[in-house]
């Protein structure tokens, strides 16, 4: 339990050099990085066992935001249960909605009109961009940089205005429904959407100069909190973590859904221009590259938006899915989300088991936090970019 460090005697003649005693005795400390903490991205509780500043063991305790979504989905009807899926990953709400809706549509063999599929893609990608802007800004905030957070929020608010106009909500949208989407968008909205894409693309250099290539930020994140591909795969971690570790995996390309195969975009995978494969900087850089790719997708989709309906005609309010099962996975800003959906023909799903990506991303903390300093642990937590609503559901 106690360790002994030999006292260090610094060179004589060095001004102001303190002379430390020969033997320093230390003890391990077990304490709590509690649910209320400015850097834990929500109500994550982490029990730490440290030797000074070095973390020896880490046990995340989740469940502080367990909102019983799966039980509620079983109790309420199909249409009534849709808003609860928004609230799971509240930063990428449209992507979560899409995940559940795709599974139900596959089990029920519902065809979605092409216009609705493109609209889903456009709004999900806008959602992805604003989620990554917040994540990147929050990561900088954890490192102590307040200004990039404000700058990224400037574009985030503009994007939120677009989503607000199209869907009616700022953060939680209820837009994707079984068989399509609720509303259509106007041509003026499309024009403004492309303008917004150009604005964000023009500001990427600013973000990179402020944060990504910042000397202090590089010192804090390059080579810090390494997660290699094997660890990530064994823990089920997906999304920017896996791509920052060098694994080419993106469900939008590998198992395309909702017309993603019509668009031309790349998947940025580490190594990048600086940093090491699997470190925090690579994950952060991967998110910024992903923003640029998403902007490309949005522009292509908006330019080529086909005519048609926005929702399948036969899907009405009291719709029930026929008996069946389905398992569909989709790519949210945080990782891969999937739904195992079982229906017995009743008015509500028999079982809607939703895989939140953050649940498995947080499990990574148990292994990867060992040996880090507490400051580096904060960088790890920020670079994993999880949302507790997603983890606890």
């Amino acid at each position: 339990m106690t360790t002994q460090i030999q006292g260090v005697r610094l060179d004589e003649g060095e001004r102001g050099a303190p002379l430390l005693p020969r033997d320093i005795q230390t003890e391990e400390l077990v304490f709590n990085m509690g649910p209320q903490h400015p850097s834990t991205h929500g109500v994550l509780r982490v029990m730490l066992r440290t030797d000074g500043e070095v973390v020896l063991g880490c046990q995340p305790l989740v469940g502080n935001l367990h909102r019983c979504c799966e039980k509620i989905l079983e109790c309420l009807t199909y249409t009534q249960g849709l808003p609860y899926v928004d609230r799971m990953d509240y930063l990428g709400a449209l992507n979560m909605e899409l995940g559940l809706v795709l599974a139900v549509e596959e089990a029920a063999a519902v065809e979605v009109p092409k216009r609705a599929q493109y609209l889903r893609v456009i709004l999900c990608e806008i959602n992805r961009v604003i989620s990554h802007l917040l994540a990147a800004g929050q990561f900088g905030l954890d490192a102590g940089a307040f200004t990039p957070f404000l700058y990224m929020f400037r574009e985030r608010e503009e994007g939120i205005l677009l989503l607000n106009e199209a869907t009616g909500g700022r953060l939680l949208y209820h837009y994707v429904r079984y068989g399509g989407v609720t509303r259509d968008v106007s041509d003026d909205w499309r024009r403004r959407c492309i303008e917004w894409c150009d604005t964000v693309a023009g500001h990427m250099d600013e973000y990179n100069n402020l944060l990504t290539y910042n000397h202090i930020f590089l010192n804090r994140t390059v080579g810090v909190a390494m997660i290699d591909a094997e660890t990530a795969l064994s823990y089920g971690a997906t999304g920017p973590i896996l791509r920052g570790a060098g694994v080419q995996r993106d469900l939008r390309k590998d198992m395309p859904y909702s017309s993603y195969e019509d668009f031309d975009f790349e998947i940025p995978v580490a190594p990048f221009e600086k940093g090491v494969v699997g470190d925090s900087w690579s994950r952060h850089r991967q998110r910024l590259f992903e923003i640029e790719e998403s902007l490309k997708i949005i522009k292509q989709a908006v330019d080529n938006l086909p005519e048609g309906e926005t929702q399948h005609k036969k899907i009405t309010r009291g719709w029930k899915a026929p008996a069946g099962e389905a398992y569909v996975a989709s790519e949210t800003p945080r990782g891969e989300m999937s739904t195992y959906f079982v229906s017995d023909g009743g008015k509500s799903p028999y079982r809607a088991r939703i895989r939140g990506p953050s649940f498995y991303n947080i499990a990574l903390l148990t292994e990867t936090a060992r040996g880090l300093l507490i400051g580096d642990l904060i960088m790890l937590v920020g670079s994993l970019d999880f949302t507790l609503g997603d983890c606890d559901r």
């Binding site: 795969l233 198992m255 499990a363």
Partner: protein, 157 residues
């Protein structure tokens, strides 16, 4: 499809007595294996079917049985999902754990124990994860009664 679904073929070849049911109809294909052979079945999937990652562990409560549904993912080659199902009786739901081979199962099985009540034998940390430690009952069971009181806080309204 004249060819058999490769995971089903591999499992039937290696563990012929463990495979109880294979369903290849519909959008969701699965193989039902016996509960005690699940660890070996998962290893065979990893070795011969190119499975890299355990994607999801679910527990489902049917009238007469519990089911644990494992979804495995192929990541590096030929992306896709493989589903294994395990049925256990309602009065004694025990399944051997996959937590020693697949780190995903560590938390996934804890959640299944917490919400559905299926025990996983040999799990290194078999405690509740979502609900508080002193919670009674397993909420995702179909016969769950909603609580009225928790440590003095009224739960009804």
């Amino acid at each position: 499809m004249s060819e058999r679904w490769p995971p089903a073929a591999a499992l039937e070849e290696a563990l012929p007595d463990a495979v109880e049911e294979v369903s290849e109809e519909g959008p969701h294909k699965f193989v039902r294996v016996r509960a005690d052979q699940i660890v070996k079945a998962a290893r065979i999937l990893r070795e011969s079917c190119g499975v890299d990652m355990l994607h999801q562990v679910s527990g489902v409560d049917y009238e007469d049985r519990f089911e644990v549904v494992y979804h495995f993912a192929r990541v590096k080659s030929d992306p896709g999902f493989v589903c294994l199902k395990v049925s256990v009786p309602r009065d004694n739901p025990v399944v051997p754990t996959l937590a020693h081979d697949w780190a995903t199962a560590n938390w996934g099985e804890r959640e299944t124990w917490d919400l559905v009540g299926i025990r996983f034998e040999g799990h290194p940390h078999p405690y509740r994860i979502m609900l508080p430690e002193d919670w009674e009952g397993h909420p995702l069971r179909k016969d769950y009664e909603f609580p009225t009181d928790y440590h003095g806080i009224d739960c009804t309204e």
